[in-house]
């Protein structure tokens, strides 16, 4: 009985180390300027993080927000790291032919624009994900909630989905 308990503990302990390990892989990838290592590191960190949490987290609105927030935190770091590497490569290329002042100014403007772009898109992503996760979880788990909450959730989700589809159609029409 003790042996089984020890094995279980060590497996749990080991599995909790995986996200940390893959986060270090991501950092190494960033420092070595290897985009593919960053990509694999982040994807594995997300998968292992979800695997661990799937064992302990019970279903609640707070936990849904918590897990979605972590997902988007990983994604935010991932996209920002890729952008920083791209900008660094560009700065290097531009510095070869100029004094550096101009390079810094364009780099600063690009960083601001990118940060704003990433932030707004991820925020929308968090919102959409929380809504959809709650709705689908309630539906799949067969939980019964108050009719009013469900209606509000349905309305908000439907509205956002409609907006996104409208935007997509708008873009497709523009392309033509």
């Amino acid at each position: 009985m003790t042996d089984i308990f020890t094995i279980t503990i060590s497996v749990e302990y080991l599995s909790s180390v995986f996200p940390l390990f893959f986060s270090i892989v991501t950092m190494v990838g960033y420092l070595r300027k290897k985009k593919s290592v960053i990509d694999v590191g982040v994807v594995m960190s997300i998968i292992t993080f979800y695997f661990i949490n799937s064992r302990y987290l019970s279903f609640s609105i707070l936990n849904v927000i918590w897990i979605v927030a972590f997902f988007f935190l990983f994604v935010g770091i991932w996209i920002a790291a890729r952008y920083l590497l791209w900008l660094a490569a560009l700065e290097d290329s531009a510095r070869k032919g100029s004094g550096g002042k101009e390079v810094l100014s364009f780099s600063r403007s690009a960083r601001t624009h990118v940060t704003y772009g990433i932030f707004t898109n991820l925020l929308l992503g968090v919102f959409l994900s929380v809504m959809a996760s709650l709705m689908s979880s309630y539906a799949s788990l067969g939980m019964i909630t108050e009719g009013r909450i469900e209606t509000v959730l349905m309305l908000v989700f439907g509205f956002i989905l409609f907006l996104v589809i409208y935007k997509m159609i708008d873009l497709l029409v523009l392309e033509e």
Binding site: I46, I47, H113, S137
Partner: protein
């Protein structure tokens, strides 16, 4: 439009959520479901930032004062005018492609810019080129990247701009390069015979048909019969420049080499010869045999310069071709000026052969050792002394065959070296 790897990774995450939820059914499945939903949400949001495939940016390019020609090492400002044709702000990577030898002096040709909807922006940078030739500036590559880095789109609007880099010419006012044989047409060479010119030569009796302005009124008044002035004829001759563009004999680097200094010397000589109203012909033996029949005037000068800037170094043509051109197509009794570092024996033999025939031959030779010394940090002294002995032997052989040889250090101006040799030749 290109879908980046990160987009595929999110698709993998969405699928992994479903698979893991199915495999680990004993755990809290809703967590895996959240992973799938979050990934799908991001994929849906990516539609907001999809790059347009239609015209994203309109672009126009202009060089400083609309210049199409510059001299080697001169600076020129390139301006790009961009207009965002989209109804949303975009982040663009703008890269104006430049040939590898072009140096960016000020500003940058590779930049990231943010453009608001319908905004117009101007980008400028200064370049210089250390080698002669025809350059293609551009085309401009514009890459759109969305903030999530899911998609990218590369477009290249606009045509490349062609810029001609001319060799630097040296003004040689105190040197007069005259062919020994003059022809009938007007020039600057005093022919020591009666003809059309500006210098008084002699007087003679008036013949019907003489111009009124040529009548010497003083002599007419003295002798009570009309006398006419006669002038010293000013004529010109044919000069043919032969530039050694053989790659095999080239000394130096891509930026600074014997070919570059030879072309600069040839351009200076061409300018001086044409300004003295001589006819000038050109043969450049590089990858192809370029030649121009003798001519004169400003247009001819531009033709010569264009040929000097455009030729490619090489060596697929035999030197017999040069000799055949000179003997069969170009006028006899011309002054032939070879511009060569004298690193190839075949070239030297051709010069000796021609000087034994009815040609005046002059050689302007940029010293290849001086070029190499400038490039190398620690030159091999033994090898250098051997090369110097060899070069001296070649020069002595050429002098012995009646060729005028200008041994020129490319770091110094050509004019004094040329002047010294011509003075020495006159004394002989």
């Amino acid at each position: 439009m290109k879908v980046n790897r990160i987009f595929l990774f999110f698709t993998v995450l969405a699928v992994m959520g479903i698979i893991m939820g199915y495999l680990f059914a004993a755990f809290n499945e809703w967590v895996f479901l959240t992973m799938t939903i979050s990934s799908l949400a991001l994929l849906v949001i990516s539609s907001r930032v999809m790059p347009p495939t239609s015209s994203l940016v309109s672009i126009s390019r202009m060089s400083e004062e609309k210049k199409k020609e510059i001299y080697v090492d001169d600076e020129i400002e390139i301006k790009l005018f961009l207009k965002n044709e989209e109804r949303r702000p975009v982040l663009l990577e703008v890269h104006d492609l430049l040939p590898s030898l072009v140096e960016v002096i000020e500003g940058t040709n590779h930049k990231v810019i943010k453009m608001e909807a319908n905004e117009e922006k101007e980008l400028s940078y200064k370049i210089s080129c250390p080698v002669t030739g025809k350059l293609e500036i551009g085309p401009v590559k514009i890459r759109y990247r969305d903030p999530l880095d899911f998609f990218s789109n590369e477009i290249d609007p606009g045509e490349p701009m062609t810029l001609r880099v001319l060799p630097k010419t040296e003004e040689m006012q105190s040197v007069e390069i005259h062919p020994s044989y003059t022809k009938h047409w007007l020039g600057d060479i005093k022919s020591k015979s009666i003809g059309i010119g500006s210098e008084f030569f002699s007087l003679r009796e008036y013949h019907p048909g003489d111009e009124m302005r040529d009548i010497n009124w003083k002599a007419t008044a003295k002798h009570f019969e009309p006398f006419t002035n006669e002038y010293e004829g000013e004529k010109s001759g044919d000069v043919i420049l032969v530039v050694d563009g053989y790659k095999k004999g080239m000394v130096g680097t891509e930026r600074y080499n014997s070919l570059r200094v030879s072309v600069e010397a040839a351009a200076s000589l061409a300018s001086s010869i044409l300004s003295a109203r001589n006819r000038l012909g050109l043969i450049v033996s590089g990858e192809y045999m370029n030649w121009i029949y003798p001519g004169t005037g400003k247009n001819h000068y531009h033709k010569v310069m264009a040929n000097l800037t455009q030729f490619e170094k090489g060596g697929s043509w035999d030197l017999k071709g040069v000799r055949m051109l000179l003997e069969d197509f170009f006028p006899r009794k011309s002054l032939i000026i070879f511009v060569s570092p004298l690193t190839m024996m075949e070239f030297t033999e051709t010069m000796i052969d021609l000087s034994r025939k009815e040609y005046d031959v002059m050689v302007v030779s940029p010293d290849p050792m001086k070029i190499e010394k400038k490039i190398l940090d620690e030159p091999d002294e033994v090898a250098e002394s051997f090369c110097q002995i060899e070069r001296k032997n070649i020069i002595d052989r050429l002098w012995a065959a009646g060729t005028i040889v200008v041994d020129w250090d490319p770091d110094d101006p050509l004019e004094p070296a040329l002047k010294e040799v011509l003075r020495y030749k006159e004394k002989l």
